[in-house]
Amino acid sequence: MKIVILGAGQVGGSVAESLVSEANDITVVDIEPQRLRALQERLDLRTVVGSGAHPSVLAEAGIEDADLLVAVTQSDETNLVACRIAARMFNVPRRIARVRATDYLANERVLGEDGFDVDLSICPEQVLTDYIVKLVEFPEALQVLDFAGGKVSLVAVRAFAGGPLVGNPLKELRRHIPRVDARIVAIFRGDGSIVPDGDTVIAAGDEVFCLAAAEHIREVMRELRRMDRPVRRVMIAGGGNIGLRLALALEERYSVRVIEHNKRRCELIAARLGEALVLHGDTTDEELLESENIGEMDLFVAVTNDDENNIMSSLLAKRMGARRVVSLINRRSYVDLLQSGQIDIAISPAQATIGTLLAHVRRGDVVAVHSLRRGAAEALEAVVHGDRESCKLTDRRVDEIDLPPGTTIGAVVRGGQVIMAHHDTVIRAEDHVIVFVTDKKNLPRVERMFQVGVRFM
C-alpha cells in the first residue's frame, strides 16, 4: 500500500514506524528537515520537505498513486486543505486527517464531501482522554478497550494473589461466575506470552487480557484481583489540551483538581470548567501537593507535554500517598522503564492513538484495531465476508480454523448479539470477529484470513 503521511511529529512518526514494517511504501512530508532526517535514518521510507498543503509538495511525495493520505500535522487547517486537494486534484481514495478543533467536528458538512472531503478525522487528545476516563471508571484495569461499538470490552488486568481465580486453571472461571460469559484471550508473563487454554493456571503478576460483554467487566476483574474502592478524588497535573478535556469529562462525576503552571492558561480553563478546582502552580511543587491533600487522592494523572515533568510529579505524588498514579509518557524507552514500577500506568500517547489509524490501513474489512503492549500485540475487530469456499473463516467451527500461532478468536458479534467464542462456535458471514494477536509478525496472515478469495468475488 502506498501511503503519504503529512507531519513527522510524535503522531506522524509513530504512524510511520508502525506501518513501515508492514510492506507499505511510505513517504513522510514535513516542513522541518531535521525531524525528517531523524526518521529517515531509522526507517526505510522516503521523506519530502515542504508544506503538506501545497499541491507541488504532495505531487513530489507521489500522491498521484497513493492509496491513503494520513494528514497529522500540528495544524488542523493544513490537514484539512491537504485532504481536499488530495481528493479533488489527485483522486486519493482514502484520506485521514487529524482535527483538534471541535468547531470543525461539530458540523458534518465541514468534513463531508462538499467540505474538506475527510474520510476519517482523528483527534489524539480525545482518544487519550477517553482512555484515561476508562481508567478512572475502572481503576483496577491497566487498559480498557471497546469493540463492536461498546458492546464488548477487552480489559487488561494485572493478577494479584487474593483474586479467586489466581492460582487456579482457567476452566474454573465458568464455575466461579456461571452467569457471565467471558474469555481470557492472552496472558503475558514476564516478557513472553501464553496462549491460554482451559488448563492454564494464572499466576500472581500475570498481565491478563480478558474479553467480556461491557456490563460484565467488573465481575471478571474481581476474579483476578481484590477490588479497590471506587475513585472519588482525581488530581490532574497539567491543564493543557488533554488536561482540560479530561477535567471536563470527569468534573460532574468526581471531585477534580487541575494544576497548571501558566497563569493565562489557568484563567482560560477556569472559565471553561465548572465544578473542577483550578490550581495555579508547579506540578512538582511538594508544598502545593501537600496543601491540596495529595494523600487523599484516589488517582493522580500527569498529562503535561513534558515527559520528565510527568514522571517526576507522578513519582512524587505516589510517595506522598496518592493511591494510584497514571502518567503520560511519550518516549518509548521511558515507558518500558516505568510501567508497573512506581508509576501504576504509563500511557504512551502514540500507541494509544495509533489503533484508529491502523483500522484503515489493514486489508480486509477491519472495523477497529487496538495496539497493545507498546505495539507488540494487537487486538482487532473485523467483518467476515464470503462463504466457506472463498474465505478461510466463514461457516467454520473455531477449532476448524487454521490460526497462526499466538492468535486467538475472542468473541463474535452477530446482529448486535455478543457470543464468546468457544471451540464449537461457528462463524457466519457478516459476523464481527474479535481476534487477539500476541505477535505482530503474524498480522499479515491474520489479515489474509479475513480477505475473500478474488476468484470467488
Partner: protein
C-alpha cells in the same frame, strides 16, 4: 559493534558474487577456451567460503547501525577482490597474488588499470570476467545486494550512503531503498544492453561488444586489446564509446527519473549534468586546438577526433585510449588527469571528487570573494535554487582537503618507493580517481606491471580509497571507530 552480524551479511554478498562467476564460466564452457576449470573451482571456493562464513554466523541477525554499515562496505570491498583473483591466478601462469589483487581491485573499483600484458591472447572468458567486475563494481556491489537480497532492510539505506556517498540528494527516489536500488540497476542494465548493441552495430564482434559494453557503462576502461581502442581505429566505435561514457557519467538518479517520467526534464533540471557536459565540451575543444596548434596532428578534424575520445575517456574516469596520448605535449595529458578528478557526476559510475563538490566549492569561493567586498552580505550557497546549509559546505571543504592530502601523501609514498615524480603523481591521481592509466611508467602505452610489489599495493589501496570516497574507508581505520 556487531562484527558477527556484519560477517553474516558479508557471507550473503559473497554468495551473490559467487553467482556472478557463472557468466564467465558459461562463456568459457561454450567457447571451450581452457579457463572453464579455473572458473568452476573459483566458484566452488567462493561459494564454499561464503557458506562456511554463513554457518558460523547465521544465528546473529541484527539490524545494522551506521557504524556496522561502514564496516560491511569496507569488508565487502576488500574481501571481494581477494576472491575475484581466483580465476586469474588459476588460469594465468606466473601471476603473483599482489598483481592479481591489483587487477581485481582495479576491476571492481571500475578503474581499468591493468597489470596484464597480451590481453588479446587471454581466454575470452577471462576478459568477460574482467569486464563483469567493472560492471558490478561500477554501480556498486552493495547497491546490487540491496536490490536483490531482501536482507538489508533498515540498514540498507546506511549501506547505500556508505557505498555511494554524495554531498546532498538525501531524498530517495522511491519510498523503499530496495526499490530505489532495483530501479538504478534496471536503468544501468538497460543502458548497458543498448551500449553492447551499439558497439556490435558499429563493428565490434560479439565478445568484444559485451566486454566493452560492461566496461564503458562501468566507466572502467579494461579492454580486450593491448592497444585499447586503437585496435579498431574506427570513428564509429569511438563515437559510440564517447556517447555512452557521457551517459554513464551522469547521475543515475537523473536517468531513473527521466525514464520513470518519460521526459527529458530531469536532465534539464540537473545542474551537475549540465556543468559536466559543458566542462567536457570546452576541454575537448581546448585540447584539440592545442594539439592542432602544436602540430601534433596536421588537420583540426583529426585532432578533434583524438582529443574528443581521450579527453572524454579520462574526464569520465574510464581510461580507454585511442592513441598513446602519453606522447602528446605534457599539458594535454595533465589537463585530462586534472579533469578526471572532478568531471563525473555524483551517483554516476565515475569517480573522483565529483562535479557537484567542485560546483559547491566554486560557489563558496565566490561567496567569500563577495563577502570581502560586502562585509554584511547574506548569500547562501545555492544549487539549482536550493540554498545549501553550511554543514554541507563544510563537509565538501573537508572532503576536498582530504582528497588533496591523499594525493600528496600517495605521491610522496610512491616517490619514496622509487618511482619518478611524473609517474608517481599520475599514478596517485589516476588510482585515486579510478581512472586507470597515468603517465610515464604507468602511461597508456604500458601497464602497472612495471611497479614493485609495494607500489602495486599502494595503488590498490588508493583505488579502494577513491571508489569509497575516502571517508568510508578511512573512518574504519580510525581508532575511534573501534572504541566501544
Amino acid at each position: 559493534m556487531r562484527f558477527v552480524a556484519v560477517v553474516n551479511l558479508l557471507s550473503r554478498v559473497l554468495v551473490l558474487f559467487a553467482a556472478s562467476m557463472t557468466l564467465p564460466w558459461g562463456v568459457s564452457i561454450l567457447l571451450d577456451d581452457g579457463a572453464g576449470q579455473a572458473f568452476g573451482w573459483s566458484l566452488a571456493a567462493t561459494f564454499g567460503a561464503a557458506l562456511l562464513l554463513w554457518l558460523a554466523t547465521f544465528r546473529e541477525r541484527r539490524e545494522l547501525q551506521v557504524r556496522d554499515g561502514f564496516l560491511l562496505v569496507a569488508l565487502v570491498w576488500t574481501v571481494l577482490p581477494a576472491f575475484a583473483t581466483l580465476p586469474l591466478l588459476l588460469s594465468i601462469e606466473d601471476l603473483s597474488f599482489t598483481d592479481a589483487y591489483f587487477e581485481s581491485v582495479s576491476g571492481l573499483t571500475a578503474s581499468g588499470a591493468t597489470v596484464l600484458e597480451g590481453l588479446d591472447e587471454l581466454p575470452p572468458s577471462l576478459n568477460i570476467w574482467r569486464g563483469l567486475m567493472i560492471w558490478l563494481g561500477g554501480m556498486g556491489v552493495i547497491v546490487l545486494a540491496v536490490a536483490i537480497l531482501p536482507l538489508l532492510g533498515v540498514g540498507g539505506s546506511q549501506l547505500f550512503k556508505a557505498e555511494t556517498p554524495t554531498p546532498m540528494k538525501d531524498t530517495k527516489l522511491t519510498p523503499r531503498i530496495a526499490e530505489t536500488a532495483k530501479g538504478l540497476w534496471l536503468v544501468y542494465a538497460g543502458f548497458t544492453l543498448a551500449c553492447i548493441f551499439a558497439y556490435w552495430v558499429a563493428g565490434m564482434d560479439e565478445l568484444d561488444a559485451v566486454m566493452h559494453g560492461f566496461t564503458t557503462m562501468g566507466l572502467g576502461g579494461f579492454s580486450t586489446h593491448d592497444a585499447s581502442f586503437a585496435h579498431w581505429d574506427s570513428p564509429a566505435i569511438e563515437a559510440v564509446a564517447i556517447a555512452f561514457m557521457l551517459v554513464a557519467a551522469i547521475n543515475f538518479a537523473t536517468h531513473f527519473l527521466a525514464w520513470r517520467r518519460l521526459s527529458l526534464g530531469p536532465y534539464r533540471r540537473d545542474p551537475e549534468a549540465k556543468a559536466m557536459l559543458l566542462v567536457v565540451a570546452l576541454s575537448v575543444l581546448l585540447v584539440a586546438g592545442y594539439l592542432y596548434l602544436n602540430g601534433v596532428y596536421d588537420d583540426f578534424g583529426t585532432a578533434l577526433r583524438y582529443a574528443a575520445f581521450n579527453v572524454v575517456s579520462l574526464a569520465t574516469t574510464t581510461g580507454y585510449a585511442s592513441t598513446d596520448y602519453g606522447q602528446w605535449p605534457i599539458f594535454a595529458p595533465l589537463m585530462m588527469l586534472f579533469l578526471s578528478s572532478f568531471a563525473s557526476c555524483s551517483g554516476s559510475t565515475g569517480s573522483g571528487m565529483k562535479m557537484i563538490r567542485a560546483q559547491i566549492l566554486f560557489k563558496q569561493l565566490f561567496r567569500e570573494l563577495l563577502r570581502t567586498i560586502h562585509p554584511r552580505i547574506y548569500n547562501p550557497v545555492k544549487l539549482s535554487e536550493i540554498p545549501l546549509s553550511n554543514a554541507t559546505v563544510f563537509a565538501v571543504l573537508a572532503y576536498v582537503f582530504m582528497y588533496s592530502t591523499c594525493v600528496v601523501a600517495l605521491t610522496l609514498l610512491l616517490t619514496a618507493s622509487g618511482l619518478d615524480v611524473v609517474s608517481a603523481f599520475s599514478a596517485a591521481v589516476a588510482s585515486l580517481n579510478n581512472t586507470g592509466p597515468g603517465l610515464g611508467e604507468v602511461g597508456p602505452a604500458t601497464t602497472y606491471a612495471n611497479l614493485t610489489d609495494t607500489q602495486t599495493w599502494i595503488c590498490s589501496f588508493a583505488m579502494l580509497l577513491g571508489r569509497l570516497e575516502l571517508f568510508t574507508l578511512l573512518v574504519v581505520l580510525t581508532p575511534a571507530f573501534w572504541r566501544k
